[in-house]
Amino acid sequence: MAKVLMKGNEAIGEAAIRAGCKNYFAYPITPQSEVAEYLSKRLPEEGGVFLQGESEVAVGYMIFGAAGAGERVMTTSSSPGISLMSEALSYIAAAQCPAVFVNIMRGGPGLGGILPSQGDYFQATKGGGHGDYHLLVLAPDGVQEAVEMTMQAFTLAEKYRNPVMIMGDGLIGQMMEPVEFPDGLKTEPTNKDDWATNGMAHRKSKKRNLVKSLFLDPTALNDNNLALKAKYAQMKKEEVQYELVNADTDYQVLITSYGTMSRVCRTAIDMLKEDGIQVAMLRPKTLFPFPEKAVFDASGKDSCQAVISIEMSMGQMVEDVERCVKGRRPVEFYGECGGDIPSPEKIIEIIKALL
């Protein structure tokens, strides 16, 4: 298919359709409302449904309902809206249902602002809702990757029967880039007869399925948590994605950065190279599972003097970076989170100060 020019929000909507998602429930919030706008036009053309809930709390449970019935389902929101959905996320993870959540992050905490931010890293990777669960979290750095990750998200959600979150900052949703929709990423839905409440009529097995997150028997609850734990261990083994930039050089500094912020760092790395300064970047594409070994290995290079995590937050991913560097190198941090994104020149200034 030829390239088209799309906003990240529109492209995420189209990618969901291409992935075979026919169910989209959402509540509008800047800076992601274009997903709903786009899908409200496109989904009916595909025989799908967009329904606006009365709140994000309601939307969370509409997602749970559709997921429990074995349907491919997605919602999109932005930071405060995701907070409202966090209870449902915990329930969906506990009940082991596949669903795709998109967070186009804006500044927080509280109502914050409408400009881009990466302030929800902790919320996405460390819980958000209650209990021992994780989301599988994908972080695109542009519109094309947002398309690919949205399509992958449905497959991953079904593989693990676990909610998958796409984490984009506001700019990923708002900016336009030329995109293509690869056919190869579409997968057939998995057979859900073993667990989904998808109706007895067409099934061979007469087993009655129950979707639930309540386990009053302590052994049953412990077993469910062990089952979840095993899935997260498998994700850590099989799903880690990251990109290394300029890492085949004798770099003096290793940057860790993701999303829009990593695009700025990439420009800074190119500009520093022209000054004869080699800097590498490790860009996690999955925030959970985190590229633990890759960060450890990249920080250990003899030439590397320091690691710096650069984020549109006040210091969140840096805690995972510190954990993975294991004290081998000093780990620094630079971040801004009012909505103004640091310029490549600013990043260069920060890096030079480290040398």
Partner: protein, 239 residues
Amino acid sequence: MTIDFTDIVIVAGNYGSGKTETAVNLAAACRSTGKSVAIADLDLVNPYFRTREARIPLEAMGIQVVLPDRQYLFADLPILAPAVVDILRQPADVTILDAGGDDVGVTVLASLAALLKNKPVRMLQVINAFRPFTNDVAGCLKIRKEIEASGKINITGLVSNANLMDDTSVAHIYQGYDLVKQVSAHTGLPVEFITATPEISSQLDFNRISCPVLTLDRHLLPPWKPTGARPPSHLTLKT
């Protein structure tokens, strides 16, 4: 061929068609011919990438830029600056209104109807053939109808802003131009101009195009472009 606009010019079109880049560059082009120019951001819909981002270079050229009050600059509230009413009462030689996208984006025009009445108004539909919903004639006609119904004002001319941003080639410009010509044939509306970056513009066969070409410098750049890549305060003013 040059663009010789006067009076009020409203830049409308479907969401993401490039209205703001077009409006900003049109303002600069009109100013370069010595006319007084005012531009107002009427985009109450889109939260990012608005006229406000080009304020400094435009003001440096002596263009009057009307934006919401500073305290509301980063709000997603539908605020229409009172100064918009003022510039319509006392228009510059060229007064450009950068409307919001789709039918919802031009709703605000209906509230300005009394001020626009009996004034010479040019209402442009900007079309990018590589955007969803306007990649064929039917799509462009549908958007036109929706904009006219919602803005209570008729479109008087067409603009092709065909682009895939950095991936744009000369062939894309021709493809977009051909689509807009077809829309023109269906509607009788003139193609007022097409846009192209300076680099692409220098490669165009002008015998193939029977309308002016507005050279378009990109002002709304993503944050990873080095500051040096941004257009200087004096824009390239070739049409």
